[in-house]
């Protein structure tokens, strides 16, 4: 501790030894500083006091918020509202300040500057003071007046403008979302279309598959059924004779001729011819040419019939179609029952063929569907994805629409809400006396700075070229042994000299302080008054 103390003392000693430097530097710094301060231009301030009902102002903004804002926030809101960019631009226009700037960036800077310089202070809950300080007197009043005017015009609608912007933005968003929504829907529909059978839900793949199989099974069943019936019919056919023995004129022949095929036709014609002959014989004799030609025809037909019977009997193995010799007075006609059954059989064959065809188709279909089985999960996933996308877009769209609604509501409210309540209490006045700069304070500060600079300078000097005033310092600095110290012998003359020097130093120091005091005094009293007094003194 003692070391520190000794060190500090040695520093002070070092500075004291160079005390004239302290004063010299102080004088220089003070001289320059005081001149600068004196030459600062006066600044004037104009201010106005206004009453603003904060509730009407904050109301729309504070919708739904229960917490009461603290004063700082309130004043901040006030500032922001009042000194929004468009408002500041307006102020610049109204006060003709825009004439001082040419380029855009200058204008920007001016706007920023003004925003900072116009001061808004809160003096009570609803009481505000707007002030503006500048070198130009007239300007200060004009600026504050411009601010008042803005209030008067109720043009606090920066928020309104924001609303407008918001609304337009929302609309744009909505349109874009609508587009997206439509796209998503189309995509989804297309996909559903393309993969109809594979989609989950009603008519899904598995149901289809089952359907296919069922159909196939059904068809198969039908086929087997049909085949059974056919076999049955075939069996029946075996049992039923093909031809029946019937009397020549019996109704059956006539009827049976109906379904005998070409044989029946011949029989019919023979019968017809026989009837014609009989009728002719009733009128003519057998030598009549008509009768003879008809008989000749008849003979031919009978011969043909015999031939046909012989032919029919040839290719067919069984003797179903072969009527066989008929008993005299009787004709062999086709058995209608046989014909019927045969018809049925043929029909049945047709049915079976058709069924078989269908069965083939069904089988092919089943195959195809089986092949698509692996697509099912894929399709399911894709569908889920598309659904999801669609849902997202839809949700976004709905949100935007909601916001739009609320924005519309807010702006409606705003237009319907009452204007901000506002009253001017003190209008701005043209300042007579300058409000700044605070020269007395500055003078004192300069003095202190000068002294500090002087001391610092001396200290630096003492550190740069160290001298020694004690053997401790010597010991600390050098490794060589120190014999001791010899006290200075100060002669009387030297003593007197040092006293004189000290007095001189003090005088110079005091003079410095007096100079500062004098400047402060002049400033307080007013430079003009002082000059006037001096003039008076000079004249008288």
């Amino acid at each position: 501790m003692n070391d520190v103390f000794v060190q500090i003392v040695s520093y002070i000693g070092g500075i004291w030894r160079r005390r004239w430097y302290v004063l010299a530097v102080a004088w220089i710094v003070c001289g320059a500083g005081w001149t600068a301060v004196a030459s600062l231009p006066d600044r004037y301030e104009s201010s106005a006091r206004i009453y603003v009902d904060m509730d009407t102002m904050l109301g729309p903004l504070m919708k739904g918020i229960a917490v009461e804002m603290n004063l700082f926030q309130q004043i901040d809101i006030m500032r922001r509202t009042l000194l929004s960019r468009p408002n500041v631009e307006k102020i610049i226009l109204m006060t003709d300040l825009d004439l001082t700037v040419k380029s855009d960036e200058d204008k920007e800077r001016l706007i920023d500057e003004m925003s900072g310089k116009i001061s808004v202070k809160q003096q009570g809950r609803n009481l505000f003071q707007i002030s503006y300080e500048d070198v130009e007197r007239g300007l200060t009043k004009r600026v504050v007046q411009a601010v008042m005017q803005i209030f008067v015009e109720g043009n606090l609608g920066a928020s309104r403008k924001d609303m407008e912007t918001t609304r337009r933005f929302l609309e744009g968003q909505i349109r874009s979302y609508e587009r997206q929504l439509v796209e998503a829907e189309t995509r989804l529909a297309k996909f559903k279309r393309q993969n109809m059978g594979l989609l989950p839900g009603e008519g899904n793949y598995y149901e289809h598959m089952q359907e296919m199989r069922r159909r196939q099974a059904e068809t198969e069943a039908q086929i087997s059924e049909g085949t059974m019936i056919r076999d049955e019919l075939r069996a029946q056919l075996k049992d039923v004779p093909k031809f029946l023995e019937v009397a020549k004129d019996s109704a059956i022949t006539q009827v049976g001729g109906g379904f005998g095929g070409p044989e029946s036709d011949l029989n019919l014609r023979i019968l017809e011819l026989q009837q014609i002959i009989d009728s002719l014989l009733t009128r003519y004799t057998e030598q009549h040419p008509d009768v003879q030609s008809t008989k000749r025809q008849l003979a031919a037909l009978q011969k043909q019939l015999e031939e046909e019977n012989a032919m029919a009997a040839g290719p067919e193995g069984d003797n179903v179609d072969e009527p066989g010799p008929a008993a005299p007075g009787k004709t062999m006609v086709s058995n209608p029952v046989y014909e019927q059954i045969k018809l049925q059989l043929v029909q049945q064959e047709g049915v079976i063929a058709a069924l078989k065809n269908r069965g083939e188709q069904a089988r092919k279909a089943v195959e195809k569907w089986a092949g698509m089985a692996k697509l099912v999960p894929q399709v399911e996933a894709q569908l889920a994805q598309l659904n999801r996308d669609y849902q997202i877009v839809k949700k976004g769209y709905e949100e935007i629409r909601q916001r739009q609604e609320s924005a519309k509501l807010a702006s409606d409210l705003e237009t319907k809400a009452q204007k901000v309540q506002f009253r001017i209490i003190d209008p701005p006045k043209l300042p007579v006396k300058p409000s700044g700069p605070n020269r007395p304070l500055m003078f004192a500060v300069v003095l202190l700075a000068g002294l500090a600079a002087g001391i610092a300078f001396s200290f630096l000097l003492s550190q740069v070229n160290t001298t020694f005033s004690s053997i401790q310092r010597l010991r600390a600095t050098f490794t060589l042994p120190v014999l001791g110290r010899i006290s200075a012998i100060i002669s009387a003359r030297e003593k007197r000299q040092s006293v004189r020097e000290l007095i001189g130093f003090s005088l110079v120091g005091i003079f410095l302080l007096l100079a500062c005091g004098g400047l402060i005094g002049i400033e307080i009293v007013g430079a003009n008054n002082v000059l006037g007094t001096i003039k008076d003194l000079g004249i008288t």
């Binding site: 103390f5 020694f468 005033s469 014999l483 001791g484 010899i486 006290s487 200075a488």
Partner: protein, 291 residues
């Protein structure tokens, strides 16, 4: 040089003198009595000149003088001389290279108080019972010892070295203080430094150091940063007292100067013209004890 070392001629103003001319230094007052310097060649013994120191002037200047045994300055120098003496006569036996009783007083710049301290030191040591002192003025360019002590000086060290015809008794001065003799600087010489660096000087120094084992030899020298002599003298002396003037001598000067006299291994620092400062170890308290 050959004349030295003989028993016949003494050079320290000691009692061995059988000339009728003067009596040894005893009293104060009166001006210097001139010795028959240019003695007749057949004179067997030469005596050194006798001078009287102006003690009043010394006292006025605040220096150690015979009648102010208890002043502050005297006490301070008592403290200062002790290490020097101890070193001088402690090494003398062992160190044959440089005799320990050779002391040079110097400083960085003029005005630091070299002569002041050298004279004071000499005076202080002269008060010792068992020692004798030879004070040699090494500041050839500006010899200040004569003026400080109020004596007249003519030939001196340089003449002794330069001129072979001279011997010690021609230049040495005896004073009214019994233990103190003074060798002035001599006439200024262009090649002073070279002379002081010569072999002759070396032999001279060796001789005077060894001749009387109880003798201290103190060299007053020019400022180190202003002259080359201290550097040369540093070659010969065993101890150097380097004066640092309080609040004046800068560290850089000291560093430079010490570098120039680094030939000597034993350098002591001495703070001169120190002001009383808070917290410094002032001797004054002790001084008041004796009152």
């Amino acid at each position: 040089m050959e004349k030295l070392g003989d028993g016949v001629v003494t050079d320290d103003g000691g009692p061995i003198s059988d000339g009728p001319i003067t009596s040894p230094a005893s009293g104060i007052g009166g001006h210097s009595v001139q010795t028959a310097k240019a003695a007749k060649p057949e004179e067997p013994a030469k005596l050194s000149r006798q001078v009287t120191i102006d003690h009043d002037a010394l006292r006025a200047a605040g220096m150690v003088c015979a009648h102010s045994e208890r002043s502050l300055i005297a006490e301070e120098f008592r403290m200062i001389k002790r290490p020097l003496i101890l070193k001088a006569f402690d090494d003398n036996a062992s160190d044959s290279k440089k005799p320990g009783n050779l002391v040079m007083v110097s400083s960085a710049r003029p005005g630091d108080g070299k002569t002041f301290c050298a004279v004071n030191l000499a005076m202080s040591i002269a008060l010792e019972r068992d020692l004798t002192v030879m004070l040699i003025d090494g500041d050839i360019a500006k010899p200040s010892i004569p003026s400080v002590m109020g004596i007249e000086a003519d030939k001196g060290l340089i003449d002794l070295i330069a001129d072979d015809s001279l011997d010690m008794s021609d230049v040495l001065l005896k004073t009214d203080i019994e233990n103190l003799t003074i060798l002035p600087a001599g006439r200024s010489h262009q090649l002073a430094t070279e002379l002081l660096a010569s072999d002759k000087m070396e032999k001279f120094v060796e001789e005077i150091a060894r001749r009387y084992p109880d003798r201290m030899i103190i060299f007053d020298s020019p400022p180190v940063l202003m002259s080359s002599i201290p550097g040369v003298l540093a070659l010969h002396v065993a101890q150097i007292v380097f004066i640092v003037r309080a609040e004046k001598t800068t560290q850089t000067s000291i560093d430079t100067a010490l570098g120039l006299i680094s030939e000597c291994e034993n350098i002591y620092l001495l703070l001169n013209k120190a002001h009383t400062m808070v917290g410094s170890d002032k001797f004054d308290g002790y001084h008041g004890y004796y009152r």
